[in-house]
């Protein structure tokens, strides 16, 4: 009788796995960004694609150099740095100079992720840390928007449109004739002008590269939910919360406060709900916590948009909620069986 079979593998149970993997989850979110990138390019021209690309290069470069990688893909293999770069790019204004996009990508990874200990250890959404840095450092370019160069009803080719500011170098001032445009939220806040809901729905408005096309963002969110690549409670809670709080205000005084549909379709709330709030690392792990997070987020968004000094509030609201996520987790531990 053979006493030993030396090539038998010893591991501990379970010997079966469900089969999903973290890089696979990242890949699905990356796939979901493709139509959003395409739409941003369609609305804001080739320059927008350059912005996304440059922000991604910044993020990927920072990840590779700062995470102690020596050869090969290293920590890039999980796809999270790539995703952070693309998501940051999608939240930037289309005419932002490329060097700022690059810097934003690098800061997103360096201060948003690596400094905390890498993937899974950061408190704040890395892409939004990068964006917040840019907002603080370069307030003017971060709030200069271009009008969409194309619309569903125009025949002009968007793929060659590049804003001259895109290639501006540090300390360089660029004169430009390209039409700037306010975002729908800016119009509402500073000029008291409304925007057609259909334009908001299809994305034919000024705004950050990836945030304008509501219908596409909703479809991407539904697709990700169907692939179980996102925790559906988070976006559902956030959007419901915005709906509830803005409806309440709208019912109190419909002339001063915009309606809930406008609040949901404009600005970054849809983009944030589908792509930022669903970052599992920086949002609550408990299911109750997901509802709390979403509710708090919607409340802050409505509060800042309507009563604050800024027209848009999604970024700061998410970062604020990120900060309290450990507390939410602690307070919403599930009841153990048999207690």
């Amino acid at each position: 009788m053979k006493r030993h079979a030396p090539d038998l593998i010893i591991t501990t149970a379970p010997f079966l796995r469900e089969g999903s993997s973290t890089p696979e989850l990242m890949r699905q979110v990356l796939l979901a960004t493709i139509p959003v990138v395409a739409a941003g390019t369609w609305f804001f021209g080739f320059g927008a694609l350059l912005v996304i690309f440059t922000a991604t290069v910044g993020a990927v470069a920072a990840e590779w150099f700062l995470s102690g990688n020596r050869s090969g893909l290293g920590t890039l293999a999980d796809g999270s740095a790539l995703l952070t770069g693309i998501l940051l790019g999608l939240t930037l204004p289309p005419p932002i100079p490329l060097w700022m996009a690059f810097l934003g990508g690098a800061v997103a990874i360096a201060l948003g992720k690596v400094i905390w200990g890498g993937l899974g250890h950061n408190i704040f959404n890395p892409a939004l840390v990068g964006r917040a840095f840019l907002q603080a450092a370069f307030p003017e370019p971060m709030t200069t928007w271009s009008a969409p160069v194309s619309s569903w009803f125009s025949s002009s080719s968007p793929y060659v449109a590049v804003d001259p500011r895109t290639f501006a170098l540090p300390l360089m001032r660029v004169k430009t004739d390209v039409i700037t445009a306010a975002t729908p939220l800016g119009l509402a806040k500073f000029q008291g002008k409304g925007t057609d809901l259909w334009s908001l729905f299809f994305g034919n408005t000024g705004g950050s590269i990836g945030e304008t096309c509501a219908v596409l963002l909703i479809l991407c969110g539904l697709w990700l939910a169907s692939r179980r690549a996102l925790e559906w409670r988070l976006p559902v809670a956030a959007l419901s919360s915005v709906f509830v709080f803005s409806s309440t205000l709208h019912l109190i005084d419909s002339t001063r406060y915009p309606g809930p549909l406008f609040m949901l379709l404009s600005g970054g709330i849809l983009f944030g709900s589908v792509f930022m709030v669903t970052d599992p690392v920086t949002t609550p792990i408990t299911r109750t916590g997901a509802w709390v997070f979403g509710a708090g987020l919607g409340f802050l968004v409505v509060l800042i948009r309507i009563f604050g000094g800024l027209p848009e509030a999604v970024m700061f609201s998410i970062l604020l909620m990120n900060a309290v996520t450990p507390l939410i987790n602690r307070a919403t531990q599930p009841r153990t069986f048999g207690y």
């Binding site: 999903s20 559906w232 792990i285 069986f337």
Partner: protein
């Protein structure tokens, strides 16, 4: 939208909360009738193959033993006898490899190649006409333990402590572990034994009603049991349950049937319920019918490294290597051999370990099935929280184990984990969560013993 739909749709079939749905992989064996494993030369009978005190040997090397003769006696109340499965000679009492990975004292019996190995056992009294104490003693001396895997002495479960009472008795026919079909075959082929064994248990604990929980992927077993009950007006009900792991865990099963939770640190007895495995009930009936002590059991042998998968009636003590050889192990292709089920079993290095009373399956996998994946950081996706049947937070517990935060581990109820491995099963980052839970329990024990 599967997640969303699952959350909205209430399951129409009774089950517990959370849990996972591993691929069943029962198709290769669930229609195979139980066959007999041929006798081999040497049998290894570890003195500790049940929960509780080891059984001291009552034979000496060189002594001749008959098939069914006791070789060890109960080492206390929570302990049972041990019997030789063959007529032969005691070869040695020495340390032998045990499926738990250690060397454990065992009685080694060399089978007599000329013995008939017929079933001839001393008569036993009628359990329904004898005194309760007599029946319990017989169950203990028959070596009976729970055949579901934990191998808890059956007479201990059947003895209701003073001051307690039992309202319901439950038989566990879930067999929620993938691949395993031994309980399934017992229910299909010997439903009468299951029911008669259950009646003995019902009368021992004085329960007013009995329930048999069977997962709905075993429709033929449910039908067979119902037919067996149908002929007599018995207070026994067969319940079909949703297919979900780990429904065979006692606490989960009671949640599924009664929608009641066993309080933390308590037993089903505290809910006035007693749970036994269907295989145990059948073995008890067979013992009182024929006098045959627990010397063999049904084992499912399968996996893609086995060319002739089977449900085998295997004498206790048969080496795993002999069973695998009998089932056509693909030598050289097998990369992993597991004793038990794929969710809670143990990987083996030395295939000379014996089949124990608690061995429900032997699985052999090729490199096609064995995948060792590199661990990645936790991204707090929360899937382990959705999987955990006792509602723990494995992600947080794993972190607390790594930082050795023992007080926090207790505060987060680590000791309520029963190591079903659902968390590891779903983890997309391949974090060895259940292993970390075990380490954490060790840390808590260490701290308690150092006090």
């Amino acid at each position: 939208m599967t997640g969303l739909l699952q959350a909205i749709r209430k399951s129409p079939q009774p089950t517990f909360h959370h849990g996972v749905h591993p691929e069943e992989n029962k198709g290769r064996t669930n229609r195979l009738p139980v066959a007999r494993m041929p006798f081999v030369g040497e049998y290894v009978l570890p003195l500790s193959q049940h929960l509780g005190a080891p059984s001291p040997p009552i034979v000496v090397p060189g002594q001749r033993v008959e098939r069914g003769e006791a070789v060890a006696r109960p080492g206390g109340f929570v302990s049972v006898s041990l019997h030789s499965p063959v007529t032969g000679t005691v070869k040695a009492i020495e340390l032998r490899p045990h499926p738990n990975g250690k060397l454990m004292p065992a009685v080694v019996v060399q089978a007599d190649p000329f013995a008939s190995q017929r079933d001839q056992f001393p008569a036993v009294p009628d359990p329904l006409l004898s005194a309760r104490e007599t029946v319990l003693q017989h169950i203990q001396s028959s070596g009976m333990v729970g055949l579901g895997g934990a191998a808890f002495p059956s007479h201990v479960k059947a003895k209701v402590p003073d001051g307690k009472r039992v309202q319901f008795a439950v038989l566990n026919g879930c067999e929620c572990e993938p691949y395993l079909t031994c309980d399934h075959r017992v229910m299909v082929e010997n439903p009468g034994d299951v029911i008669r064994g259950f009646q003995i248990l019902l009368s021992l604990v004085g329960a007013e009603r009995g329930y048999i929980g069977v997962e709905l992927n075993k429709a033929d077993a449910i039908a067979a049991l119902r037919a067996a009950v149908g002929r007599a007006p018995l207070p026994i009900e067969i319940l079909g349950l949703e297919v979900k792991y780990p429904q065979g865990a006692e606490k989960m099963l009671l949640d599924a049937i009664f929608h009641r939770e066993v309080p933390s640190g308590k037993l089903p007895l505290d809910l006035e319920i007693v749970v036994n495995n269907v295989g145990t009930a059948a073995a008890i009936a067979q013992y009182f019918d024929t006098g045959k002590p627990l010397i063999e059991r049904v084992v499912t042998v399968t996996g893609d490294a086995v060319s002739r998968p089977a449900n085998l009636l295997v004498p206790i003590g048969t080496p795993v290597s002999a069973v695998l050889e009998h089932c056509g192990l693909r030598q050289g292709e097998a990369r992993q051999v597991i004793v038990g089920g794929p969710m809670m079993g143990l990987a083996q290095k030395d295939l000379d370990v014996p089949v124990l009373k608690g061995t429900s399956g032997i699985l052999a996998f090729t490199s096609e099935t064995v995948r060792v994946q590199a661990e990645m950081p936790c991204i707090r996706c929360g899937r382990c929280l959705d999987a955990c049947p006792v509602f723990l937070n494995p992600s947080r517990l794993a972190m607390l184990v790594r930082t050795e935060s023992v007080d926090e581990l207790e505060r987060y109820h680590l000791l309520d984990c029963f190591e079903c491995a659902s968390c590891s099963f779903v983890c997309p980052s391949s974090i060895p969560l259940v292993q970390l839970m075990r380490v954490g329990k060790g840390l808590i024990r260490q701290k308690k013993s150092s006090k």
